[in-house]
Symmetry: none
Amino acid sequence: MAPTTQQPDAPGAGAAPARGKGRPRSAAADLAILDATRAALAELGWGGLTMGDVAVRAGVAKTTLYRRWPSKNELVVDAIAILFDQLECADLGSLQADIEAVVAQFADLLSRPETQAALLALFAEGTRDRQLQQRIRERIVEPQKVLVQLGRANAQARGEMGPDEDPATACEEIDIIFDTIAGTVEHRLLVSGEPITPEWIRRFTTLLLNAFPGLN
Amino acid sequence: MAPTTQQPDAPGAGAAPARGKGRPRSAAADLAILDATRAALAELGWGGLTMGDVAVRAGVAKTTLYRRWPSKNELVVDAIAILFDQLECADLGSLQADIEAVVAQFADLLSRPETQAALLALFAEGTRDRQLQQRIRERIVEPQKVLVQLGRANAQARGEMGPDEDPATACEEIDIIFDTIAGTVEHRLLVSGEPITPEWIRRFTTLLLNAFPGLN
Amino acid sequence: MAPTTQQPDAPGAGAAPARGKGRPRSAAADLAILDATRAALAELGWGGLTMGDVAVRAGVAKTTLYRRWPSKNELVVDAIAILFDQLECADLGSLQADIEAVVAQFADLLSRPETQAALLALFAEGTRDRQLQQRIRERIVEPQKVLVQLGRANAQARGEMGPDEDPATACEEIDIIFDTIAGTVEHRLLVSGEPITPEWIRRFTTLLLNAFPGLN
Amino acid sequence: MAPTTQQPDAPGAGAAPARGKGRPRSAAADLAILDATRAALAELGWGGLTMGDVAVRAGVAKTTLYRRWPSKNELVVDAIAILFDQLECADLGSLQADIEAVVAQFADLLSRPETQAALLALFAEGTRDRQLQQRIRERIVEPQKVLVQLGRANAQARGEMGPDEDPATACEEIDIIFDTIAGTVEHRLLVSGEPITPEWIRRFTTLLLNAFPGLN
DNA sequence: AGGTAACCGAGACGGTACGTCCGGTCTTGGG
DNA sequence: CCCAAGACCGGACGTACCGTCTCGGTTACCT
């Protein structure tokens, strides 16, 4: 048996780069591959996405792909996760404005063809593959949830909300808010297939604030 | 130009029973195929679903399958749609109870392995294939939305809500309520991967009723 | 269940038409089918020949084909055999002339695209299917061999040959002559792919007559 | 002869220097495939020969097969051609003996089930596909014709025949002799279905020598 | 400077599923 | 009993990708 079962691993994930002996991996290849993945995703959709095609687009051998990502799913998670890392929660002075900004950002992200093609497909795969679901949560879902936590903290700092009384209850509340925002936006955009306009965002945000009586 | 391109067409969908020429299609085969599809879906998931395997399970030739459904997507839509046709909206005497019942039904449906495996994958394909999206909406989404409309009508009959003032506004309101319920439940169950308990349903329903100030 | 396993049978083969109860078979269909078979053979070759296509060309249902011929092979044998039934052995006054005429006729037959496409393919199938080989011999090979026998009889009548001494020896001699003529013409035309000209026929006939010293 | 690494791919600019890039094709696979082809041919006949079956017998993927041979026809030509490459023309001291030896060799070859199954079927396909016919001639027919030329040269060396007077005439004579030998043996064995015994060979050879008066 | 270990491209490899086609059978309604 | 139409089962087709495996060659570190 091979003594070193060389696990393929995504580049940015590990902490120590394990400065080895041989030729180091091309850093440019990572970017090229992820870009190519998003491009192929936008152009062909999840079903049309092919490892061979990504390799060709990236000017890279298929071997290089598999050396870094164990399968299509993981590759796409990383390719899409980059987009979700760009989400930000600006403090605009009021909870209403902050929520609207977050929803707008999220809606923008879900309007990109590569995101549309990939997101639901990844979620679907995740229902079967627990490890993938974990990875999706870490790289894609968590960054969104952080926005909710940040917004909540900002609101508390501004005095719009009282401080958390019970951490467990607070965590549950964050979960339900998050599922509601993310789920509703995704459903309207990707399932119902209708656009998300500023008017819709305002309406939805108002409903959301109404739902929590503690907030005026 | 021929208006009916329908070479492969699902049974029951078309209005005209077509020409009475030739040997008629086996009605039993339809049921066997759809059952086999759901079974394979529950067992192997979307990615593991194979037309050949479905055919074998149904005791049917692959050609028979393709004669009726042009592709995996359409087949799965029909196989899953049957489940959504079973949704009902009982009048339990209060809006809160009615909503809770609907959410519970929907959560039950999404807890079935075949639904989990298929639903998000179908939605994902739908973002690329407009015709498929239309079909999904007709066969899967619409039956759910009808429940919201029914619940609303029941509430109005009971006097919990005032009558619709503007039909367009009412329609928009139904849309937003529907996207919120469906999206939130789906997101919690399939993306966040957390269970939907009666407590959660009660909390969520309460928030929902809070959100609409017209309802006490 | 049906007590009589109704064997499909070629139309012209049986003696008694078995004047039955129901609707009699369409006589026109037989001709149309055989014509269509030859046409398809000439156009598409053996490999491209399809029962469904023949049925369409003949304006007939596939069922009708199978009611009369048990399979593609038998159908083609009959379709081609018709052509071989047209071979004749005219008495032209000399053995040389008679042989040349027969060879020319045979070469003409083998130059037709439908014959080319079918003959070798049938022979090939015949090497595996003893029953088919028998049928081929009866319907296709025998009519050719009869010409050799006739030519021999004519030559004897004209005094160019002495009478048969031993029937067994005569039969062997006919066999070897026949295999030589048929085999050589087929090989030149279908394998070597070169044309058969009057010059070639004269040369070949001369060699043939040389080969048998009893003939001056 | 090696299968010439004939890519079924588009030839592109032509005369590509065949870059030594990538993993080289397995040489063992070629032999295994050709052996498997002959075995399947002998067992199942031309009609029963299946690319998938050959692949399984050879322990090879179907893709490997198609990567090397564009179709069943070409594969079988190569598989059978190997057998014809083994034909030899020994100088046994007299033309009669040499011819008898050649005929016997040829009859032996045609008695092998794989040859029987393949040869006529290939010839039949060759009548439709000019490229295939060319390939058959190069790989199968030509090796046989060489024997005739060699035998003739040997006879001239021994003084049994005078030297060629006109090259064109000589060539024509070789052609007619060859078509006669090959065609007659094939027809007796494969069409008439009768065995080729030493007695038959002696008779046939005698007739052949009679036919050419220049030979005593 | 030379090893050597890990990288890289290219592409062949064993598999699996695809969607199509055809052979031969059967089941309709109608003649 | 025949016919046309067409659905049915089974099975081979040739293609497309998957993920793995050799190849020859290329860096970069470590003696």
